[in-house]
């Protein structure tokens, strides 16, 4: 190769500016990309095809985010890789190498061997014995990272937008592994490196669960069944989900207990509550400014938040999942599994790693049941008798499964409903976040969080 890896990326900067916004995992699609520059680039494989590993810094009005890139270089790009093409330089096609199974096999081999290669640290977990030379394929799911599946055995998540420090996904998975937690996909290895002297996680290898179906698909199948009946209640229809919701509640409580056992827990008083409520109020201020529909509920929201400030008993805190919803849980033949412990993508890294109330996860799940219940009604204006009937059914479904989830949680830990005031505030805060998200991205869904807010605040 004539030019260095860094030069290759530099020369590709313009092509990357075009290409990035077309990628599902690119977080800055709402703003123009001003510049792209390499902050790290090494060659993992020379020859044809060649493989480069790099980190690019993407500047967008004021912000600078770092993304991981695996770049393939070939003289002739085969047709099945056409969709991965980024640009051409020096007569070489440059493309997204995560799509090239000829190249991605190497990553698993390096992890299995536990090698340090081109400054990257490929590790496997103590005691993990890995099979190599497995056929790989990209997951193909809509996701904010890029995951590759090897055979029916492993899944390697390549983090796209990088955070400094070890990724909480890896930290928490490793902690849960020490507790032999049954409700995770076992972590088997990682790709770590450093940038400007700080540790960075580039990838995490886990056991792949080939029989898994995610909680959202499970729950919406149940809702669909209910909606088709019309005259039956959720506890009467065949697709009743309450048994699953209960077991899911148990699983979440067990994961919380294992996280606390592995990484510690604490107890906080009014300070934390003040900070928490201040943040809720600030978020509300911001969303009110852009979503006028929320105005009607302002008083109810503010007083629900402030009620949490008045709580006198101490709040138990610990490491939590941080972004829990039905799409982050998988049903397998052995029960429920929680995945993706990266935390809320928008939250700052410091917050993601801090000890917080596990009620946040519970609130996230409760909101998700609400969403699942209502998703089939989205896009229907309502008003007709039949629509109203379905709305009633949706509410019944949500109530039944939220209760079942809490019942299951309470079988393994303290009943979250014992902390009704805080749980309510957390749920409303989450709903306010959803209002902002839906307003910006999916206006037809806006009614889902808004109607929940109206119901919870009684306004």
């Amino acid at each position: 190769m004539t030019s260095s890896p860094t030069e290759v990326i530099t020369e590709l900067a313009d092509a990357l500016r075009e290409w990035l916004p077309t990628q599902r995992w690119f977080a800055g699609k709402d703003r123009p990309v001003e510049s792209v520059r390499p902050v790290h680039a090494v060659s993992l494989v020379d020859g044809d095809p060649a493989l480069l590993h790099s980190v690019i810094e993407v500047r967008q009005n004021g912000s600078a985010d770092r993304y991981q890139l695996l770049l393939g270089l070939r003289a002739d790009l085969p047709e099945h890789l056409g969709h991965a093409w980024i640009g051409t330089r020096a007569q070489l096609a440059c493309y997204d190498a995560t799509q090239d199974t000829e190249l991605t096999g190497l990553l698993l081999d390096l992890i299995a061997r536990g090698e340090t290669h081109a400054g990257l640290d490929f590790q496997h977990e103590p005691g993990a014995e890995l099979e190599i030379a497995l056929r790989s394929r990209p997951v193909g799911a809509e996701q904010s990272n890029t995951s590759l599946v090897y055979g029916h055995h492993y899944i390697l998540k390549l983090f796209r937008k990088l955070v400094t420090g070890t990724n909480p996904d890896l930290t928490l998975h490793r902690a849960l592994r020490t507790q032999r937690c049954e409700h995770i996909a076992e972590p088997l290895g990682a790709i770590q490196g450093s940038l400007n002297g700080e540790e960075v996680t580039f990838g995490m290898l886990q056991r792949f669960l080939p029989d898994a179906a995610d909680g959202w698909a499970m729950a919406t199948a149940s809702v669909r069944d209910l909606m088709a009946e019309g005259d039956l209640h959720p506890d009467e229809v065949g697709g009743d989900f309450a048994g699953e919701a209960r077991r899911l509640g148990q699983a979440v409580a067990e994961v919380h207990a294992d996280l606390a056992a592995a990484l510690g827990s604490g107890s906080e008083g009014s300070d934390l509550l003040d900070r928490t409520v201040d943040a809720m109020q600030r978020r509300l201020d911001a969303v009110l400014a852009s979503v006028p529909e929320l105005g009607a509920h302002e008083a109810g929201l503010r007083s629900a938040f402030d009620a949490a400030r008045e709580l006198s008993e101490p709040i138990a805190v610990q490491h939590i999942h941080g972004d829990l919803h039905l799409g982050q849980v998988l049903r397998t033949v052995l029960g429920w599994v929680l995945i993706d412990f990266e935390g809320e993508p928008a939250a700052p890294a410091a917050e993601r790693l801090s000890l917080r109330s596990p009620l946040r996860d519970v609130a996230g799940m409760l909101r998700s049941f609400d969403y699942a219940a209502h998703q089939l009604l989205v896009g229907h204006p309502g008003g007709s008798g039949a629509e109203d009937q379905l709305t009633v059914r949706a509410l019944e479904w949500a109530r039944r499964n939220r209760d079942a989830f809490c019942d299951g949680y309470a079988e393994k830990a303290e009943d979250p409903r014992e902390h009704a005031v805080l749980l309510r505030a957390l749920e409303l805060d989450k709903a306010v976040y959803e209002v902002a998200y839906e307003h910006g991205n999916r206006p037809e869904w806006l009614a889902v969080p808004l109607s929940s807010i109206a119901r919870i605040t009684g306004s």
Binding site: H80, R135, R137, G140, H152, L209, P210, D211, A212, A213, D214, A217, M218, A221, S222, R224, D225, A228, G238, G239, D240, G243, R246, R331, V333, L334
Partner: protein, 604 residues
Amino acid sequence: MSGSAGEVKPDAALGLEGIPHTGEGVTSDGHLIEPQAEDFRHARQAPEDADWFKRAVFYEVLVRAFADSSSDGTGDLRGLASRMDYLQWLGVDCLWLPPFYASPLRDGGYDISDFRAVLPDFGTVDDFVYVLDEAHRRGIRVITDLVLNHTSDAHPWFQASRSDPDGPYGDFYVWGDDDQKYPDARIIFVDTESSNWTYDPVRGQFYWHRFFSHQPDLNYENPEVQEAMLDVLRFWLDLGIDGFRLDAVPYLFEQEGTNCENLPHTHEFLKKCRKVVDDEFPGRVLLAEANQWPSDVVAYFGDPEVGGDECHMAFHFPLMPRLFMAVRRENRFPISEILAQTPAIPAGCQWGIFLRNHDELTLEMVTDDERDYMYAEYAKDPRMKANIGIRRRLAPLLDNDRNQQELFNAMLLSLPGSPVLYYGDEIGMGDNIWLGDRDGVRTPMQWTPDRNAGFSSCDPNRIYLPVNADPVYGYQAVNVEAHLNNNSSLLHWTRRMIEVRKQHPAFGLGDFTELGSSNPSILAYIRTYSADGAADTVVCVNNLSRFPQPVELHLGEFEGCVPVELTGGVRFPAIGELPYLLTLPGHGFYWFQLTAATDEGEAP
């Protein structure tokens, strides 16, 4: 109830006068004379085939309910023989007949009063040999139930045992001076029995019984009992029968300090039964009825090192309710879970699986956490409770929905195990709920729209149970004749599916691998079998939801292969690099054979 001090003569009131039977005479040393196989004609043998039971489609048929040749209102063996052409046409490989032995019929014939005589209502041993002959002539085999654990209290052995404690049968049953032994054995029929011991005033002692008090347990500690029962096996095997479903096997022995179930001695005796089969009657089978969790049932296959040395087959009980639960939930996990929990079985063995039979899973017999799960998930649901507790037929359970009947049968015919069909379900017969849960599913087979549904030419008032006259399921609408005349009937469909199954050894002999997918309503699996360098690979995809569903299957290892749909022979697009996308109609299913791209697959 039993033990009534009445002077019951060994062979009284069983209608066996003039017919060969146990206790016709007594030898000088007090032994009862029993009929011998040599006294009868023997049936021709079924074709030799060691693995037949792994590929077979079984058909459970009640002699009483199938066809009446004597116009007395009760089905009989000659009647069954007269319908053998129909069974051959349908394509079933083996008939399973519930007990047809002499019996006072206080427990549906499972209370056997003579192991070597046929219930006179059904005919004679000679008639049975005739049935065997007619079946074997058509390549159909026949197995029947045999109760090893106990006899009826009307059995001459018991009568001799109670009246002559020092005679040759004195030790044939489990007698005790009090009712205190084996306190840890549970009472199975809690509704009717208060103890496993009952006092017999004739002998002045208590006798042991795990089931009804009119069914005393045989004493397997006595080697003569073991020999006597092995001779019962030999009697029927000599006549030509193809095997036995051994009823209630876990309870043969008793031992203080245990629950008296699944004891090592019980397994030792089953190994003896197996040895008789292997040494003297190779190719015949033993099927265990042990209503337990699969992980416990596997013990009845025996030693996996030698491919199994007890029973060749055992019923897989929990699968059936899980099938219903999964379709009701529109979710594969109830099935996937039970299959994942099913242990591997020895090489020479096979599960028997069924949707319906005359006598089904009761939750009482399922143990541990699994019962909690079943209760939590499904006994709460009144409709599901009815599905397992009360005996119903397939069609009414599925609201007579044709798509669902096809889906359930397609799963039955493609999941691992040998399928057992229940007579009448192939034409979608209904149950008669007014007859109560036992008899409701045992009404006469519906052959024609004529009087008595073509089952019997007797006066309708004489018939053992009224034919089903329901407007939807009754014989005038639902009968074999009507189904035969309609090419798209369930009967023709069932026949075609059985035929397809037979063309693919993967179904009976192949490995099973579930194919996960992100759609929880889809249950997909691969069956693969290879022998002599040829591989048979079948992919089955089932939509458990009533709504159309898409699914992406990861078939990467078969890249380049062409799926050929098995019922019509249509070639589907070749499997490529990307996940294989299929769409299925509500409650739809596909069976595909994976063929090499060049290969034309089988002709449609």
